[in-house]
Amino acid sequence: MGPITLDHYVFLSAALFCLGVAGVLIRRNILVMFMSLEIMLNAVNLLLGSIAAFRGDAAGQVFVFFIMLVAAAEIAVGLAVMVMVYRNTGSIDLKDLSNLKW
């Protein structure tokens, strides 16, 4: 087995990203979908971090901080929206929210 190269990290994070996408597509529970969205973002973080490390360039690692920051803000809003929905409908199942259509 040879040394671990950048390609390994790229494939790992791509796999992680696809896992997140699959989670969003398959699950209907809003909370689990949020978690899957976070997995997608963390796949990106992993990719940026490893590229930055292999290239010896700090920019990618700084970007990771920005993503973490924004993701925190985003998920805070998302959770608030979810709580609001739960108060009104008593459910956090996506299927129950399909009145706006056509």
């Binding site: 996408v21 996506l94 299927k95 399909s98 706006l100 259509k101």
Partner: protein
């Protein structure tokens, strides 16, 4: 002074639109009508003054640049007006006949609540039509082109206050826009090829391309698509009969005398381009002739008085394009000119009949109106004689000139066109006899209510009838030794067409077309005048009994061999091809789009999971195709 007059011509109707649009309610019905008509009359007088001041001396053109509209590297478009013999003649047609129709509308629309709105739209239409006619470049012409389309749409919809905006209207609209799309593409190509949209520059630059250059052929074809949309040629004609839903004066002004001839005007205006595109010319001739025959055949079996006239208009426009396809520009315009008189007359006459019958449009419920409507009868007779090409009425001269040009280029086409003239004369006299002769076929209430229209409606009819009688003398054939006034006047724009026919041939042609017209008159007279047939019978004829009568053996033979198949063919064209085939093909986008729209709408399921899935599928497809490339 002259420039001011030029600007006033379109500006006055615009002013009329603004005033009657804003203060129509306060002015009252009759004042709005007078104002609207007055503005158009003033426009007409401006044009007349201009003609007196400028064109008597034989000068060619006035160009007025109002302001620079678009200016960028490589393309500059001024907002410019151009008055030359061609546009001046069109201005006379638009304002002159427009004025008469405005006056007529005062009477016709008298009982309607929306009179102010009606007149403001009518004035707005006149404004856009004048912009179209007076434009000195294709971009300004396009403004007018779109404007008249919009007003036409508003006026068709005028009586559709309480109906849903239905699929048919969408269809009519989209069909028209297909033509406009062609026009627009032509403009883009033109701007790319010549770097200009001004008439003068485009035409002078085109000369260096030589005959048959692909760029010019393409441009002219695209412009012709636009022209055939506006002027209702195959395959884009189906909207015109639908447009008959509007008030009759609108049909007379927009769908007979002016707007629908805009396509013909466009081709005549661009004759310098078309002369360089023999392929396009051949297509125009073919489309024109086919439309003339096709629409004429359909008109044979129509039962709605306005539908007959609508198909007749389509057919006459076909004859105009046939002339243009022969390169006979001034001849085509001559027919535009005479047609404006007699077709406006026929529509207004039909309006007078409909008015007398309180809205009835089915010719099977008419008949014997000769006595009740003497003025309408006499004027309609003049119009019918004119369109049938009986001398000395106007249609004879212009149609005869078209036929002479066609004969000169292609005798075979001449024979087909002559058959078309026979059909024209036949369906017009069929209409005429069914409406005015025989016994009244409506019910007693309708009979009691019959009345001649008020003077404000009959006066325009009389003036137009005089026009239908006299307009042809503006272009006497060369063999009469008199000057051909129209072609002389238009010569700076269209060039002078030379005739190579011998006098004997011309006499022969003239005789043939008069004989055709009279023959059709005779058949129609026998069928509808003497025998008093009504279209409803056509379906339930027991032919054997009639055979045995013997007396009408010739007539029956003719009936069996020609008329019946013709009628059936006509009905078949109308039902199968027109309704389902052609209409379907043209309206493919139009007809299918509401259905597709419904599918798109139903795709929006409201289910977020599906949306996410669609997004992921989109990403997948993009990446998949990317790897294949």
């Amino acid at each position: 002074m002259k420039n001011l007059l030029v600007v006033l011509i379109p500006l006055l109707p615009l002013l009329g639109f603004a005033v009657s649009g804003l203060f129509g309610k306060r002015l009252g019905k009759s004042a709005t009508g007078l104002l609207a008509s007055g503005m158009v009359l003033l426009s007409f007088l401006c044009a007349a003054a201009l003609a007196m001041l400028h064109f008597r001396t034989g000068d060619s053109a006035i160009v007025v640049n109002l302001f620079s509209w678009i200016r960028m590297p490589g393309l500059s478009i001024p907002m410019g007006l151009l008055v030359d013999p061609l546009s001046l003649m069109m201005v006379f047609v638009v304002t002159g006949i427009g004025f008469l129709i405005h006056v007529y509308s005062i009477g016709y629309m008298h009982d309607d609540d929306g009179v102010a709105r009606f007149f403001s739209y009518l004035n707005l239409f006149t404004f856009f039509m004048l912009v179209l006619v007076l434009a000195d470049n294709f971009a300004v012409l396009f403004i007018g082109w779109e404007g008249v389309g919009l007003c036409s749409y508003l006026l068709i919809g005028f009586w559709f206050k309480n109906h849903a905006f239905n699929g048919a209207a969408v269809k009519a609209f989209v069909v028209n826009r297909i033509g406009d799309a062609g026009f627009l593409l032509g403009l883009f190509l033109m701007a790319m090829t010549f770097g200009s949209l001004s008439f003068a520059e485009v035409f002078s630059r085109a000369a260096s391309f030589g005959s048959g250059a692909p760029a010019i052929t393409l441009i002219t074809l695209f412009l012709f698509i636009g022209a055939s949309g506006k002027s209702a040629q195959i395959p884009l004609y189906t909207w015109l009969p639908d447009a008959m839903a509007g008030p009759t004066p609108v049909s007379a002004l927009i769908h007979a005398a002016t707007m629908v001839t805009a396509g013909v005007y466009l081709v005549i205006r661009s004759n310098a381009l078309y002369a360089l595109a023999p392929l396009t010319m051949a297509i125009i001739a073919a489309v024109g002739l086919a439309t003339a025959i096709w629409a004429g055949l359909i008109a044979l079996s129509q039962r709605d008085i306005k539908k007959v006239l609508a198909y007749s208009t389509v057919s006459q426009l076909g004859f105009m394009f046939l002339a243009l396809g022969m390169g006979a520009w001034s001849t085509g315009f001559f027919h535009v000119f005479t047609h404006a008189f007699f077709k406006a007359l026929l529509f207004l006459g039909a309006g007078s009949v409909i008015h007398a019958l309180s809205g009835e449009q089915d010719i099977r419920r008419m008949g014997g109106l000769r006595k009740a409507l003497p003025v309408t009868y006499a004027t309609m007779l003049a119009g019918t004689l004119a369109i049938a090409g009986i001398p000395p009425f106007a249609g004879f001269f212009s149609k005869d000139e078209i036929f002479a040009k066609v004969f000169e280029h292609a005798p075979a086409l001449w024979a087909i066109a002559l058959a078309g003239a026979f059909v024209t004369s036949f369906y017009m006299f069929r209409l005429f006899f069914l409406v005015f002769h025989g016994e009244f076929r409506g019910d007693a209430t309708a009979k009691h209510h019959l009345h001649e229209s008020p003077k404000v409606m009959t006066a325009p009819l009389v003036v137009l009838a005089l026009g239908a009688l006299g307009a042809g003398f503006a272009g006497l054939p060369e063999i009469f030794g008199a000057p051909h006034w129209i072609s002389d006047f238009l010569a700076p724009v269209t060039g002078r067409g030379e005739s190579h026919l011998s006098h004997a041939t011309e006499w022969m042609l003239m005789g043939a077309s008069v004989a055709t017209g009279l023959l059709a008159l005779l058949f129609a007279w026998v069928r509808y005048g003497v025998k008093g047939r009504v279209p409803a019978e056509d379906a339930s004829v027991t032919g054997v009994a009639r055979w045995s009568l013997g007396k009408f053996f010739i007539d029956e033979l003719y009936d069996r061999a020609i008329v019946k198949p013709l009628f059936r063919f006509s009905a078949w064209i109308h039902d199968v091809l027109d309704r389902r085939g052609l209409d379907g093909a043209v309206g493919a986008i139009a007809g299918i789009s509401p259905w597709l729209g419904q599918q798109v709408r139903l795709l929006q399921t409201g289910n977020t999971a599906f949306y996410l899935f669609a997004m992921a599928l989109g990403v997948f497809l993009i990446l998949f195709v990317a790897t294949l490339r």
